[in-house]
Amino acid sequence: MALVVAVGQANSSVFAQPPKVHYRHRSDLPPGAIGSAQLQRGGPLPGYFQPVEIKAPTGAEISLAAGNRFLDPQPSPTTAGLLVGGVYRFRVSRIPYEPGREVFPTVEIIDRLYPPGGQQKRFPIVVEITQEDLELALAGSFVTRVIYLEEPRAALPVAEEAIGGLNSHDAKPGDNPIEIADTLGRPMAILRLGGWLPINNQANGPVNEDLEPGLGTALPLIRYPSPGAGGTGVEYESEGPCFESEAEVPAATQPRTAGRIPAALPIGAKSQTATASHEAPAPRKLFGWRGR
């Protein structure tokens, strides 16, 4: 009897240990590296414009980049359809308590939602920039936020209204925020703040002198009507690939295969090409397979 109990306890202690996960991605990888790896998995990711809602403190304005320039600043929040796997730079201006200063964050979409039909725009990925984030970036720090989809059964029992925004956790220096986010849910996007200038990397081709200094050519996006505009859309003149709806997006713009993400790769990196497979289901977890 004692032997049976001992063996049982030994087995229970073995099975109680969490499965070891090898995380291939870190938050300090170059922008776009994780998104490019996601596109190589194929499935329904390439070519999908994931609605993303970018929130900033009240009073701040957000300017998305389309083509070779920034669009007109919009009050927060602003919503746009961004390509999964792409890195988008935008500008945050009119920062409260920081007159005249601007921050140029980037957001990298690394996964998508699968809402029921007709609900895509109603349930975007929410990327929230707090006042503290902006002040840290202006003070010279580099802020990385990994936005994850919360696991409902492990959700925090607090309402967003009560805490005034999304649930936020701070990682210690040296920790991998992607790993932490993966334990809390499904990582969806990576926000990086720290740039004071709209400098983009030059992996998307030679520098065009006609472009806005350092911006480069932005990826195509779909601009959704701003809630503050009464739902009638925003009037602007676009010189680049900025669309008002999915119907306007030309087929050539939507990559059928996981192609090269120009702004995502570091300088000197080789372009990554993979064939998208629409038959094989994409694994649920992104940064390690734990069989769940």
């Binding site: 699968y114 029921p116 409902p152």
Partner: protein, 400 residues
């Protein structure tokens, strides 16, 4: 041909009149009010299963009139059935709703099955569970789960990492600690673990016993050899194991022993069991007769059965929005049931709106905190339910 065809075509005014009448009839249709009296709502209406006066006896904690019970609550959108539990792309072979982390689930019986103890303790009630339990006239206590109601409601969080050049751990120095490579001396000092005959035998003592002996008899010219009645040589090849040789059992020889045992089994005979009773062997009888009658047993307490169905006012909800849930329970059995209790264990992200619980039958309502910092809602139906009777419970939640 045209003339014959034209005789079958109705006049234009007749077709227009028929179209107008049909439109008028279709526009006049409406869903019956659930609290409408049975004699007005007609056969087959939901009130047929409600007890008489169900709409008059409301929950004591909240004075709700008949219209409030029967009519849709505020913000009620008729849920489109079947439930939409997936987006525009679903991997083949997965269970819905997919992906599960984008949906709030309420209803059903997850995890361990719920059962109720004799002292009314409810065991196995997990988050998201919705069950009803009742007693039969035979004293049996039965638990019935509801259906599962998924609500699409993704919520996001973020993990922030702030790095700064002012932090000490960002200073990278060539201290040489990160790559402490040294000459591995151990690779050349490996101890010999296996030694094979490092000393050559210088001699050998023969242990071979004499096997024969020559006897020489001097009393004649005839000589003969007399053999010993003993082993010849040592052991045979299959006997070359320690247990045979020395009587010592060694693990390395276990397979050989097993093989030997198998071989030993094959040597046995008379394996079949013979049964002889009174010196007569059992005779096997093979027939082709079939049962000519089927007997069924009907329990004394009939076939009690409670059906509980759960629906939600919407299938999509953002954080901060409210969702109304409705629980419909009916005694679809053939016997009386009592002590009907409906329990809904709300998931973490559903927050019960105070004083929003309603019931179409006389019931007592209780709440208690659960393990997910939400509430367990509990309706205790006061009166027993006759076959065909039922009712409705309703409450409102705010999505966290």
């Amino acid at each position: 041909m045209n003339a014959a065809h034209s005789t079958y075509v109705w006049p234009r005014w007749w077709r227009l009149a028929l179209l107008a009448a049909g439109t008028l009839i279709l526009c006049s249709c409406r869903a019956p009010d659930i609290c409408e009296p049975a004699h007005r709502s007609g056969i087959g209406s939901p009130t047929d299963l409600l007890p008489a006066g169900a709409c008059e006896d409301q929950l004591p904690l909240e004075a709700v009139d008949c219209q409030d019970v029967g009519g849709p609550p505020a913000g009620f959108d008729s849920p489109a059935l079947p439930l939409i539990m997936a987006g525009d792309w679903v991997p083949p072979g997965v269970s819905l709703p997919w992906p599960a982390d984008e949906y709030l689930i309420d209803g059903g019986d997850h995890g361990q099955p719920v059962h109720v103890e004799t002292d009314w303790d409810v065991i196995g009630l997990d988050l998201e569970d919705t069950v009803a339990h009742y007693d039969t006239v035979c004293g049996e206590r039965i638990v019935t789960p509801s259906n599962i109601v998924p609500i699409y409601s993704p919520r996001f969080g973020s993990v922030r990492l702030v790095t700064s050049p002012l932090l000490n751990d960002q200073i990278v120095g060539a201290a040489g600690v990160e790559l402490p490579e040294r000459i591995v001396q151990q690779q050349e000092n490996q101890i010999v673990t296996t030694e094979l005959q490092n000393e050559q035998a210088i001699g050998q003592t023969g242990l071979r016993q004499p096997i024969d002996r020559k006897g020489r008899q001097w009393d004649g010219g005839i000589s003969r050899a007399i053999g010993l009645a003993a082993f010849q040589d040592a052991f045979l090849p299959y006997e070359n194991i320690a247990i045979i040789r020395q009587g010592i059992f060694e693990q390395s020889e276990k397979p050989y022993l097993a093989e030997g045992v198998t071989a030993a089994v094959t040597w046995t005979k008379d394996q079949a069991v013979h049964v002889i009773i009174d010196r007569q062997a059992a005779a096997e009888v093979v027939g082709d007769q079939r049962a000519q009658a089927t007997y069924s047993v009907t329990p004394e307490c009939g076939s009690p059965m409670l059906r509980i169905v759960k629906v939600a006012s919407t299938q999509f909800a953002k954080p901060g929005e409210t969702v109304d849930f409705t629980l419909r329970f009916d005694n679809v059995g053939t016997s009386l049931i009592g002590n009907v209790t409906i329990i809904d264990n709300l998931t973490t992200r559903l927050e019960y709106v105070p004083d929003s619980a309603q019931a179409s039958v006389k019931a007592e309502f209780f709440t208690e905190p659960n393990q997910g910092d939400s509430l367990v809602l509990r309706w205790e139906i006061t009166d027993p339910l006759e076959p065909g009777e039922g009712g409705i419970c309703r409450f409102r939640c705010r999505v966290r």
